[in-house]
């Protein structure tokens, strides 16, 4: 499901369609999160990604009204090469990692409470408070950046 929609995403001509396909992918991934009993992340994923970010994308695309098959073909070879390279990467990594020493281990499904908001919250504001603060700096800089770039002059 996720893979299929992912593929659709990168193949569909029309940017808008690929955005929509990407959203589908995100939903699928969130599904996996829920399956893995990580509700918090699932929600955040849907809200932040499928919601905010993708909408942002859509806006931009609309703004540039690219919502038609504008993209001219780039030369076949490079495209092919790209696809092949991606395939190779997949192949190689899978082949490399398939016989890892943890392959027989299981991922806990449907139980375990670490995915729940309160656990995460506790951890976040106890152990991970410093990175959290740091990420605020990140946001600050991103904001400044957006201003710098966006401001008309």
């Amino acid at each position: 499901m996720a893979i299929f929609s992912g593929l659709m995403m990168i193949t569909s001509k029309n940017p808008v369609h690929s955005v929509l396909w990407l959203i589908v992918t995100f939903f699928a991934i969130s599904g996996h999160y829920i399956l893995l009993n990580a509700q918090f992340l699932a929600i955040v994923n849907i809200i932040v990604y499928a919601g905010a970010i993708m909408v942002l994308f859509l806006f931009v695309i609309m703004l540039m009204n690219l919502n038609k098959e504008t993209e001219p073909q780039k030369n076949r070879w490079l495209k092919l090469a790209g696809a092949v390279a991606g395939g190779c990467l997949l192949l190689v990594m899978v082949a490399a990692l398939k016989d890892s020493d943890i392959k027989q281990q299981q991922a806990l499904v449907k139980e375990g409470n670490i995915g729940l908001i309160q656990t995460l919250g506790k951890e976040l504001f106890s152990t991970y408070v410093v990175p959290f603060e740091i990420s605020s700096i990140l946001f600050l800089s991103a904001m400044v950046g957006a201003v710098v770039i966006g401001k008309k002059d």
């Binding site: 995403m9 990168i10 690219l66 375990g112």
Partner: protein, 109 residues
């Protein structure tokens, strides 16, 4: 559920993202592919976090949370990146009225 499935799934998504970056010319879509790569990573991290939780739940009740928190941070960063990235793309578009990366060839050699 065997962890390998998740590994393969994540790798697949990741590679799809890479392939997308390689094949597409539209800057926005390339960017979206990168987002896809990030999500693949997220998925993998969550799977791992659950795996480690399963291993060490007895000793450490909160084992594995770090993985999920990392995912959270990744999302944060991604959001920030998106804001900046889109800003840059828009700026680009303002100037050359295209988001085709093939037009980015003033700088070479």
């Amino acid at each position: 559920m065997p962890i390998n499935y998740y590994i393969f799934l994540a790798l697949a998504l990741f590679s799809i993202g890479v392939a997308g970056v390689l094949t597409r010319r539209n800057a926005i879509i390339i960017f979206m592919c990168i987002e896809l790569m990030l999500n693949a990573v997220n998925l993998l991290l969550v799977a791992f976090s659950k795996m480690h939780h399963l291993q060490m739940a007895t000793t450490n009740a909160v084992a594995g949370t770090d993985g999920q928190l990392f995912v959270f941070f990744i999302m944060v960063v991604a959001a920030a990146e998106v804001s900046v990235g889109l800003a840059i793309i828009v700026m680009m578009y303002r100037n050359i009225h295209s988001v085709d990366v093939n037009f980015l060839n003033r700088l070479k050699h």
